[in-house]
Symmetry: C2
Subunit: 490 residues, 2 copies
């Protein structure tokens, strides 16, 4: 194909109009001949064989070993935990900018935005009676502090958020609400959205019943003394009460005490602080498109992490994978047709603030974002492709799926509206959505805990991810389909 | 066999001397006849078929489900952590005495002894430079505190205790020694003895080189943010420096920093306290022997635990297994020939103090302890029998091995000198040693960490242990071999 393509280019460069007609006929013939040698998905996807071959070569080369793990190691070692808005998150941006500048991007920059700061303090808890002993717990992200002397009360035990919601207002006056749940490990992580509501909204629901604090079983699937933190918010119409998560073994212990017909009485001391306005930012790096630079394909992960671990799987992995994808495209020396934009998002954990800030600043150019995706589900291998695109882009998605199939990835739902958390604002506005689904069976064993550290990551698994994202990025950025059509906004 | 045995007993009870001679001949004949029907190990082991059948029945019944897990659950829930010499350890003794009195022992009592008290305080550590971040660590048991303002210094990295020992005296002046190691998970736990020396003796070795604190990689095999505590001692001729263990992921992080050619500088604040003299005790309960009550077979586990977890595998499991063994023998209604003594040892973790106190108080009656064993290697299934006994007792050990073989237990070395930690003083004095070896491949993942909790235990695995210990206890307490001979003391 490369020879035919070159020859037809030469013909079209000829000078005279008569010659042009002849050349046109030859060209069309050559084109038809060439097309006969191409498979139909390639045609409909707007991609030629050369580009497909390039994607395959990028894919296969990644499987021989990439630097993705190295970037995760560098970030988690040299920066460590990087809470949204903290000095450490700023160090992570500086680290990323320095690393990316060496990759040869056309442009690397930071887009800052403000956010309300919060930081963890002391956090202790113990059972006062009937069986005095310490508890392992952690403040939920965004929780208020307990009073200086702590808060002590009898627990009222609920086994689900629904049970708490059914409690009579006033029935928890002077008590501390404890809520368990039955979250399980699933391959696609789907229990998190459902059970996670307890963490996100539980405090105000408990407050509406009169509770003076909320203690939950961690939204996590491990059996270690590792409490899971994570974002929570307060309803404006309820008193703000302190909220903390027990590790699963501690939650078991509380439930065992209750099963003996005893009322566990606990004392909690939590001293998180609100810091006023602080700064986060998105680190953005462009591989500028050669033909349609204004059109943008987004890849990336988020730079911030929770403070308890070093943010290796959440989301050092996504950062490392997508940095390596961009680095490999840059070092191939080939320019894509449209712009590939790597975004290392800031302040994802505390409310997708990087994604919201990005959308806010691009209201006039939204539809230049032809498609995007984020890697933010740990370090496991990809096993599924999901998407939500206009029919015109379906052959492109099919071709991507076809090319990642040798990596052990199968096509999944073609009507899901996710591109990863930080792209939610863009996808909600109508941007076509694409996501590689990773195997997350152990994700909620580690997510938001002190245990989110580098040793949990297999370099080979990251390489498989890099291979798949290379296929996505190279094909999406090179297809000749120029208008895929945004979807109706949600 | 039961009929023959009863008949020969009646003959021997007859009154006259003439009749005695006749009866003697009949008896010998009956005995010889009986012996022909018995396998030779049964004969040499001093056990009759009835006793062997009873042992098999006790064994098989245990496999249908025991209360061993229930005792562990009660202890770890109602008492929780129970550091040697603490109020919690006293609560554990009270709990045990109350539970054991309901089992129907002939006598249940506590033998108290004094020990120097120690308790954990705050423990924080962080990397000051080159990559500032917090560390997860814990004080070693018995460590002195750091100065009030903490201790800060550059780390000198050693990858083994041997490397530290080779350091030039004075070379660590003003520094903090960091020592890693290469401990692995093994089925029999054998790496603990070797690598554990770093924890036990490292501080004074580091001090002898001038170090102002010691930081070690935990003596453990997990990959969680779980530092392992455990006992350490100081040499009288060295300055006492504070000593702490990093979790394995934190130790990895320190080693990664060092591998980048940087000198990690850390600050530690540890505030453990010495409490003066406190009290511990052994809880002892006897099933008095019907024939030779002065002869004692010991079983048991240790009641104290480290303070970080709830002491489920170390050693709630051993307590629960051996309590259940005694309870089942008591509820069988059968009296053993000699006394079965259940000892729930105190203050094992801080230097086998219960075992030492027991020996100290029985100097005059040591040799009444015909054999003993302790369950203190977690909650895994038993896979091997080990022993060190006089040749006269070998057939007894062989018969025990034969009866536990259906449980998946094979004979192991017949020349090892362990009966478990608290029996070390007795075994060192010459008591025959016996030990069931449990599968400890995950033992050092949990041992001495916050993660030592009930959820790590399988009730079925405990039942297998109970079945094996029933065989040991019933046969050792009923054999007609009366003098097995102590071994030369060590």
């Amino acid at each position: 194909m490369r020879i035919l393509h070159t020859y037809s280019e030469q013909l079209l460069r000829g000078p005279s109009a008569a010659a042009f007609a002849l050349r046109f006929i030859v060209c069309v013939s050559l084109f038809c001949y060439a097309m006969l040698g191409q498979s139909s998905p390639t045609t409909d996807s707007g991609l030629d064989d050369r580009t497909v071959s390039e994607a395959k070569a990028l894919r296969d080369d990644a499987l021989t070993g990439t630097k993705a793990f190295q970037w995760v190691e560098d970030l988690t070692t040299e920066v460590g935990p990087r809470l949204a808005g903290s000095d450490s998150e700023a160090s992570a941006r500086a680290w990323a900018v320095e690393a990316l500048k060496e990759f040869g991007f056309h442009r690397v920059w930071v887009e800052s935005f403000p956010l309300p700061g919060w930081e963890r303090g002391l956090e202790t808890g113990y059972v006062v009676s009937p069986y005095p002993q310490p508890l392992t717990l952690t403040s939920l992200g965004g929780s208020v502090a307990t009073p200086d002397e702590g808060v002590e009360g009898d627990l009222v035990i609920f086994t689900s958020l629904q049970a708490l919601e059914s409690a009579v207002p006033g029935s928890l006056d002077g008590k501390i609400a404890y809520v368990g749940h039955a979250m399980r490990s699933t391959q696609n992580g789907s229990h998190y959205g459902y059970f996670g509501r307890l963490r996100r909204e539980g405090a105000s629901i408990a407050a509406s019943k009169g509770a003076k604090a909320l203690l939950i079983r961690s939204i996590g699937t491990d059996s270690h003394r590792m409490p899971h933190t994570g974002a929570m918010t307060y309803s404006p119409d309820q008193p703000k009460i302190a909220a903390a998560a027990l590790s699963n073994p501690d939650a078991d212990q509380i439930e065992r005490m209750a099963a003996r017909g005893k009322v566990p009485r606990v004392k909690l001391l939590l001293t998180p602080r609100f810091l006023g306005e602080v700064t986060s930012g998105n680190v953005i790096a462009d591989i500028r498109g050669a033909v349609a630079p204004e059109q943008i394909v987004i890849i990336g992960g988020h730079l911030d992490s929770w403070d308890l671990g070093t943010g290796a799987i959440d989301d050092g992995a996504g950062v490392g994978i997508t940095m390596e994808v961009a680095r490999r495209i840059l070092s191939s020396g080939k320019r894509p047709r449209r712009t590939i934009r790597l975004i290392l998002w800031g302040a994802e954990e505390v409310g997708l603030l990087g994604g919201r800030a990005y959308l806010e600043s691009r209201k006039q150019e939204l539809k230049n974002h032809v498609i995007g995706t984020e890697s933010d589900f740990g370090a496991g291998q990809i096993w599924q492709v999901t998407s939500r695109v206009d029919d015109r882009a379906r052959p492109l998605i099919d071709l991507i799926s076809q090319l990642v199939e040798p990596l052990g990835v199968a096509p999944g739902p073609a009507d899901v509206a996710s591109s990863g958390p930080d792209l939610t604002p863009l996808v909600s506005a109508g941007m076509p959505a694409f996501r590689f689904v990773q195997d997350g069976r152990d994700y909620f064993d580690l997510h938001h805990t002190p245990d989110d550290t580098l040793d949990k990551i297999s370099p080979q698994d990251l390489d498989q991810n890099v291979a798949a994202y290379l296929v996505f990025a190279w094909l999406a950025a090179n297809t000749a389909l120029d208008d895929w059509g945004w979807l109706p906004s949600e």
